[in-house]
Assembly symmetry: C2
Homo-oligomer: 310 residues x 2
């Protein structure tokens, strides 16, 4: 009898794979490097091979995939990170494994992470969930009434591109200015800090780093009271809070979940965001949940596996 659910989280550098039993106990977690050669044309067969090395497809009920890029009705519209143009992953994976007794579902990776937190993490039991993943960029996912919201172009949850900045006009990877990602991602934090170093005389420990610094450095110095770093983090939190407020006035989620590398700033970041959020949300919302991801890097595989057995 079939006994495993499989969650696959495809990233630009590595692919995480999780095997779960039907009660969603994580039995095994492994990863393979992402083969970007030939526009990522080997990625799917390498995933199939890696799964087969661990277990027989006879034992697998279904496989869920989280993919970096917009997905609409199981079709990946484009994945810049993987070098994919329009890919019908479901069809291609069936063609590789040559069996149709396995359920396959596909969603955007950030949506999948949000779904993971909703099904098995900090957002469990909530109805409307908005998740934001802050790393090099900013991703996000929306779950409403138990379903991932993809949107007609698969763009739902791409909250890194919400227009919030009217001050710095940094250029985003997407070609626009004003995107949340340009001022509140790890690279955004560094950018805002560099701008302030150049355009103010504020004393800062960051001035000793002549060859650059990480976002973590800015956060650590801010926690210690460094003036310029504190100013940076206040602004970053304000941008995120504005965006949370705008999401509130759209879908009024019961919980905001923050994940990704920058979320390691922990309670310090949460308090800053909360402090800035309520003035924007009042008088309509007096209390909302703003929490850190509890599944961390595993949110994707949990969510992907949950696509199969929601």
């Amino acid at each position: 009898m079939k006994k495993y659910l499989c969650g696959v989280d495809i990233g630009g550098t590595s692919i995480k794979i999780g095997l779960f039993d039907i009660d969603f106990n994580l039995l095994e977690r492994f990863s393979i490097p992402t083969n970007l050669e030939n526009h990522g044309s080997q990625i799917l067969s390498e995933i199939a091979f890696a799964i087969q090395e661990k277990t027989s497809f006879d034992d697998i009920i279904g496989i869920g995939f989280g993919v970096p890029g917009p997905v609409f009705r199981d079709i990946i519209q484009k994945s810049v990170n993987l070098g994919w143009e329009r890919v019908d992953l479901k069809k291609e994976f069936y063609a590789i494994i040559k069996r149709d007794d396995i359920v396959i579902h596909v969603s955007n990776d950030a949506n999948t992470a949000a779904f993971g937190e909703y099904k098995h993490g900090v957002a469990k039991g909530h109805t409307n969930v908005a998740m934001m993943t802050i790393g090099t960029g900013i991703g996000g996912g929306i779950v409403i009434h138990g379903h991932i919201v993809d949107g007609v172009n698969g763009v739902a949850g791409e909250i890194g591109h919400m227009i919030v900045d009217h001050k710095y006009d940094f250029l985003c990877n997407c070609g626009k200015i004003g995107c949340l990602e340009t001022v509140a991602s790890a690279t955004g934090i560094i950018r805002v800090a560099n701008y302030k170093l150049k355009n103010s005389n504020l004393d800062s420990a960051l001035r000793n780093y002549h060859h650059g610094f990480s976002a973590k450095k800015v956060i650590d110095f801010a926690k210690e009271g460094d003036l310029l770093s504190t100013q940076v983090m206040n602004e970053v939190a304000d941008y995120i809070a504005t965006m949370f407020a705008n999401i509130t006035y759209t879908i009024n989620p019961d919980i905001f979940v923050i994940g990704g590398g920058v979320s390691l700033a922990g309670d310090y970041l949460l308090s800053l965001i909360e402090e800035k959020y309520y003035p924007y949300a009042l008088p309509f919302v007096t209390k909302t949940n703003i929490k850190l991801s509890t599944l961390g890097n595993d949110a994707g595989i949990y969510g992907a596996a949950s696509l199969v057995k929601p």
Copy 2:
């Protein structure tokens, strides 16, 4: 046999009531004034009375209500316009009509209008719908996968309070600054125009109106090429477009519907908004539907009746 569906759209000055057959043909539409005395305590019994004057409750399958204020799980959290604090409308209405064979559902009025457009108007056949009603204020409603999104505080769709302005800092009725409503509602348009009249030397036909002017005047002059009025409408459209983009990055609707008095500006307003929207939405969204409401003032009664038989 029961044969009618009833939709009730409660406004601050009048209450619109529609009787529909089960195929949603509008058989009769009537209205009564909103009795605001004693914190609106007579409103529900007056509605019951008005319906009974037209038909017997024996013939009514169900009644849907659209109410100005946040609603969560059929409970009105508060309605400033009606003078209501927390009201369990369903329970109170059952107590008045003393029969439980009639289905009753309640939602926010703007959500109800959005639902009306989704079921019977311009948004029919679409999956994710965002509606904006521009009148004295700005309201809105969100429908996803066929369901109204209320949100945990009933605040979903309150897009008039999305933070978009960082320039004028006009005070909103809600006590905040930056709200879309302060710069893009009918009153917002007048406010922006007055600001520009005072703070620029631009020539404008509006300068001849010493005792004030309507938003319609600004729109009409803009259509005729009046420089200052054109500047005002360009800014207003830009605020709306920014907000549409931010909604796109949250739920990526297949259609935006614009209703309310200001929507009478018609194609002129649509083109302006589209022109500003795409630069914010690209490269993720190259084509979306931005349309005028087709049900107009009847959207509320259509939507309310549809709550009963979705």
